[in-house]
């Protein structure tokens, strides 16, 4: 028995001192391998009498089991140690910066974003989006819109002209999106509900005027639409666009050749720093012009003004963008300064929806 005890002590000491899995394997082979000390002991069982085997069998098998257990336990410890060491060696400085993803650096221009917001609102109200060319004829830009030839109202538009062509016709850059009213009427019979966002041009430049700017035109032509509906659409639009629960609007009679009656609309607001808060305060901010489509305009569009009637409105897209998002200077819209675009631009996946809220 003392043999077994000695062997066990020797093996367990060797297991305990094995520094890695290879050393432990050597210990295992020396104990449990073919020529191993425990295997040699097991071989002696065959030479024993049954009586001797009765006692020696369990003792030697017990030794084998304990050695196996010790080996397994040591192995687990060694693996843990090795893993811990590896992990320590693999550690990196996670405070090091990563590159910014394209989605983080790309930006959508505020004008595009606002046009998408307008589209979300107006499509819900049943408006389609109409478009027209920037280079227009005098007829579409003025005459068909009831600007009498030579009338001072034309001069108020500071028009960009091209040189007269061979036929003596002088083309121009549209001064408003209203020519698309006529182009729409020519293509489509009532009922008509369209909004027309687009570039417009006037020979003007200061902090709030640029030679190119964006306008949003709205046009509704139906059999029974009137100023009451116009007021409703504008209120709903402004509430939805500015994302406020209420707006207060003031309609002032005014003059546009292509509408009759014509009105300018102010919206009640309060200026707080660079913010404009709507529905409160004592300031009135002029925000759009509108009116019932002039009978002459309907006639130019081939529509009977005694049967159909309609309304139209126009507002500056850049201007409502400035009011909503607080840019102070219109000129910066077209300067493509990346600092401005990063600050005032929108993330690529900020797609305005009514379901999710226009600005999230």
């Amino acid at each position: 028995m003392s043999d077994i005890d000695t062997i066990e002590r020797t093996i367990l000491a060797a297991v305990g001192s094995a520094g890695d899995e290879a050393a432990l394997e050597t210990v295992r082979v020396s104990a449990l391998g073919k020529k191993g000390s425990v295997s040699e002991l097991l071989k002696t069982l065959g030479t024993m009498t049954p009586a001797e085997r009765q006692t020696a069998g369990p003792a030697i098998n017990g030794l084998k089991d304990r050695v196996n257990e010790a080996l397994a336990a040591r192995k687990a410890i060694l693996r843990d140690e090795a893993l811990t060491k590896r992990l320590a060696a693999e550690a990196v400085d996670v405070t090091l910066p990563v590159r910014r993803a394209p989605l983080e650096t790309g930006r959508i221009h505020p004008v595009s974003q606002v046009i998408d917001e307008i589209t979300a609102i107006c499509s819900d109200l049943g408006f389609a989006i109409a478009e027209g060319p920037d280079i227009e004829t005098d007829f579409y830009n003025f005459t068909a819109l009831n600007f009498p030839v030579g009338h001072p109202a034309r001069e108020m538009h500071d028009t960009f002209f091209f040189r007269p062509n061979a036929e003596g016709e002088r083309l121009l850059l549209r001064t408003h999106t209203s020519p698309v009213q006529i182009r729409t009427m020519e293509k489509q019979k009532p009922p008509i509900r369209v909004v027309i966002p687009g570039r417009t041009y006037r020979q003007d430049s200061d902090q709030t005027h640029t030679p190119m700017f964006h306008q949003l035109e709205g046009l509704v032509i139906e059999e029974d639409t009137n100023i009451g509906h116009l007021k409703w659409v504008l209120q709903e639009f402004c509430k939805a666009f500015f994302e406020v629960d209420r707006v207060e609007m003031r309609f002032r009679p005014s003059f546009f050749p292509f509408t009759e009656p014509s009105m300018e609309v102010d919206i009640r607001c309060r200026r707080v720093g660079n913010e404009v808060r709507f529905g409160e305060g004592d300031d009135w901010l002029e925000i759009l012009g509108c009116g019932m489509v002039h009978p002459n305009v309907l006639r130019h569009g081939g529509i009977d003004p005694d049967r159909y009637q309609g309304f139209a409105w126009g507002m500056g897209i850049d201007r409502i963008a400035m009011l909503k998002y607080g840019m102070p200077d219109l000129r910066a819209f077209f300067d493509a300064d990346v600092r401005w675009l990063r600050h005032y631009g929108f993330r690529p996946l900020d797609l305005p929806t009514l379901a999710g809220g226009l600005s999230g």
């Binding site: 091209f162 003059f255 019932m292």
Partner: protein
């Protein structure tokens, strides 16, 4: 249009305050730009009496005055330098703490050369009343000491500045504004009955309208002589009226014409009769005729312009400005007074050509009341005779100063139809009546006659506007529009969807959206294939904005350059917008384009501890373009990449993306070195552009179902091949040849290595491809693989002259 409250009250009985009037004006469409009360700034200034004035002990030019300002505490000591500061005069006193209007300074008690001064006696200039500064203001002896100077001078008179829309010439006279306010319920109009004048003698000067077949250029011309007038400064009340709205009084005759211009919207002209030779003729100018006008400038006239001439030639530009030669001065004793009607369009054109913006032009081009032509002359006559004496001749009138009143058939239901307003008939007719419209007929269908002073009204809708103006748009009840039934339908066209998708797709690749000008400089337009004469503006706002852009790239390049100049040398910008290849609507296209410059590739820019970004190149632009096409639903494996592009690209580092031989979808590449030089940029700049209209429309399908997905059960096998080819052989050719070796089995070909070097040989390159074989029926055997590999090699060698690299 400016006027004061007191002037308005000459035409309107009202108890309303300035604020109420301003609110009403805005409400009825006469937008008030400002209401200023000049008396506010003058409130601290009181009338004072100089009790004594003694020489200052230490200064020759100063006097020490004791001034009675009406305070019980007795006179105040003031040191004053004005030469007219003397005992016994009435003056205007400012106490310490007052703000001097023309400097904005706060007056303090001071010590001047050792003598204390507790206030100041002021000049007109110091109060901002005039330029007069030779001495302090002297008031009449009966001016009440201690009371407000502003009240005494009747300066407490709010000044309205109203923005009159171009359709309302009638409101370019105070009387017209009064009429509108009365109709809006703010008071009653004060009528000024005008008995017809009687001439004391026949007019010695006649007028002939010599306009040939265009008599409408001057429909009427009324004239009369007033002899024996004594011209000179007009009375204070008239000067005050003119000054109150910023006009400079000149002399009584001229002041009367200016006054009636603003009081009644009736421009007039006065000639010094002694300087007029013979009779007057209204005619078209002869080309090259010149006139020295009353503004001191000489104008050269052409045959489209209408003038008033005498034997000496042109004496006045009709309806716009008179001539210096026959102008009235203080020496004038005989005056010809003109009241005429002119053609609005002709006046506008002449005024624009000559660059004259006179009050007369402003009114005639908008339209004056033709019926007031003759009464206007009567009124002017009476004022001149009242102010200057003299004796008026009979009036001569050429042409017809009368206009038939136009009428409109007006069903009352129009008010409801257009405005949504339910108003009783008598309210509608009442409003129209107060505005001067004649209302005839009964029941639902009225006949309305339009006053001659309302050229803007011509139809039913105009009458509805008059009613809405007076009732107020607030009275119109809000009515919801019918919303579309059920779920809203899509509204965007294919083109509109593409623009939106293109923007988001490019932004998602890290590009920043710019919106740049539609017009660029001529040389930049030419550099990018534009600059045609028909696309150049006749009146550009600056030399940088002369030509419609043929491409988005010059604008983006300029933006890149500006940003680089600000220190942002790495960047990626894009724009989706219109470009112009001609002037017709069909010549306008929508492009999507982008530039990357510096090191701004899709993986980021600049230095980084992992790896610093390399300079952008043609493949960055190609990747952007293909990603954009994919986002827009174009099958990028079906497009061809043809080497080379437009002239502004590097010829060996650019490609054209085509569908078939004719349809060009876009281009990508690095800018040509000479393009960079002309743009004043340092490279590299990688750019791409796509014409959205060139993209094929998706095929219409009956359902949204996608084709079934066929996933093979068998494993794919991959084999690599390296070919050595001439440097000029396109990799795409190798890929196409390999793909073609067995279309059924070969699922893909990837170029994974391109190598040039001495080992390969001069002018040669090695292109390595990985071919994926995807069996669909049974697992491939070695023999199968060998067979297809041999075919791949053979086909590629045949197509490209390659040798297989072993």
């Amino acid at each position: 249009m400016k006027f004061t409250l007191s002037w308005l009250k000459e035409h309107l009985h009202t108890e309303a305050s300035a604020e109420e009037i301003a609110r009403s004006l805005t409400r009825i469409g006469l937008e008030v730009e400002s209401v200023e009360d000049p008396a506010k700034a003058l409130a601290p200034f009181r009338i004072a009496s100089v009790v004594s004035a003694q020489q200052h002990p230490n200064a020759d030019r100063l006097r020490v005055c004791m001034v009675d300002v009406g305070d019980a505490s007795g006179p105040v000591q003031v040191v004053c330098g004005a030469p007219n500061a003397r005992a016994g005069i009435k003056a205007v006193f400012a106490a310490p703490g007052s703000v001097i209007p023309n400097t904005g300074d706060v007056l303090k008690t001071g010590t001047i050369r050792g003598v204390e001064s507790r206030g100041m006696l002021v000049s007109e200039r110091e109060l901002g009343l005039s330029d007069e500064h030779t001495g302090i203001i002297e008031l009449p002896d009966d001016a009440p000491v201690g009371t407000s100077f502003a009240a005494y001078r009747k300066l407490a008179d709010p000044l309205f500045d109203v923005s009159v829309t171009p359709n309302r010439p009638d409101c370019l006279g105070v009387s017209g504004i009064a009429r509108d306010l009365a109709a809006a319920g703010l008071g009653t109009v004060i009528g000024h009955a005008l008995p017809p004048g009687h001439g004391a003698f026949p007019a010695p000067v006649t007028v002939t309208l010599d306009l040939g077949d265009a008599p409408g250029l001057c429909p009427a011309f009324a004239l009369r002589l007033i002899r024996g007038v004594k011209n000179g400064p007009s009375p204070e009340w008239l000067q005050q009226r003119l000054r109150s709205i910023g006009l400079r009084p000149i002399n009584a005759l001229v002041d009367v014409t200016n006054f009636l211009t603003f009081d009644r919207n009736r421009p007039l002209h006065v000639f010094d009769a002694s300087k007029v030779a013979g009779n007057l003729t209204v005619r078209k100018a002869k080309g090259g005729e010149e006139i020295l006008a009353l503004d001191g400038r000489t104008y050269r006239l052409d045959e489209t312009m209408v003038v008033i001439a005498d034997q000496n030639g042109v004496e006045s530009i009709g309806g716009i400005m008179g001539g210096e030669a026959t102008g009235c001065t203080e020496a004038t004793t005989d005056v010809l007074v003109e009241s005429a009607l002119w053609d609005a369009l002709n006046i506008a054109q002449t005024g624009r050509k000559l660059g004259i913006n006179s009050d007369a032009r402003f009114r005639f081009e908008r339209g004056v009341d033709p019926e007031f032509c003759v009464p206007g002359l009567e009124l002017a006559t009476r004022m001149i005779v009242d102010l200057c004496g003299g004796e008026a001749s009979e009036m001569v009138v050429a042409g017809t100063p009368h206009d038939e009143r136009r009428t409109v058939s007006f069903p009352l239901a129009e008010v409801k139809r257009l405005a949504g307003l339910d108003l009783p008939a008598n309210e509608v007719t009442g409003i129209l009546g107060k505005l001067g419209f004649g209302v005839h007929g009964f029941g639902e269908n009225l006949i309305v006659s339009i006053p001659t002073w309302r050229p803007d009204v011509g139809g039913k809708a105009d009458l509805v506007e008059e009613v809405v103006r007076m009732v107020g748009v607030d009275a119109v009840p809000v009515r919801p529009m019918r919303k579309p039934e059920g779920v809203s339908r899509p509204v965007l066209t294919l083109g509109q969807r593409r623009v939106r998708t293109a923007r988001r797709a490019l932004a998602a690749r890290g590009l920043v959206e710019a919106v740049t000008w539609s017009f660029i400089s001529k040389d930049r337009a030419e550099l990018f294939g534009g600059g045609q004469p028909e696309l150049a503006l006749a009146n550009p706002i600056s030399a940088d904005m002369t030509d419609m852009r043929p491409s988005l790239l010059p604008g983006l390049a300029a933006a890149a350059q500006r940003n680089a100049a600000r220190g942002f040398s790495d960047g990626a910008l894009f724009e989706v917008g219109q470009i112009y290849r001609g002037v017709r609507p069909d010549d306008q296209y929508t492009a999507a384009a982008g530039v990357r410059y510096g090191t701004a590739g899709v993986g980021g820019s600049g230095r980084n501890w992992q790896s610093s970004a390399r300079a952008v190149d043609v493949f960055d632009a190609k990747a952007d373009l293909l990603a954009l096409l994919d986002a827009l639903g174009v099958a990028t494996d079906k497009v061809q990449i043809v080497p080379g592009g437009p002239a502004w690209f590097h010829p060996g580092r650019a490609g054209t993306v085509q569908l078939g031989p004719k349809t060009v979808l876009g281009w990508f590449g690095e800018f040509h070195p000479s393009t960079l030089e002309k743009l004043d940029m340092t490279g590299p700049v990688a750019a791409f552009a796509v014409i959205l209209e060139a993209l094929p429309a998706p095929k219409a399908k009956a359902t949204k179902t996608k084709p079934p997905l066929d996933l093979p059960d068998l494993q794919a096998v991959r084999r690599d091949f390296a070919f050595v080819v001439d440097r000029g052989v396109e990799a795409a050719k190798i890929v196409r040849a390999a793909e073609g070796a067995d279309r059924k089995l070969i699922a893909g070909v990837q170029v994974f290595d391109v190598f040039e070097g001495p080992a390969i040989g001069e002018g040669r390159k090695s292109v390595a491809i990985e071919v994926t074989l995807q069996p669909s029926e049974r697992t491939l055997t070695e023999a199968d693989i060998e067979a297809v590999s041999a075919k791949i090699v053979a086909d590629t060698v045949k197509a490209t002259g390659a040798t297989l690299r072993s």
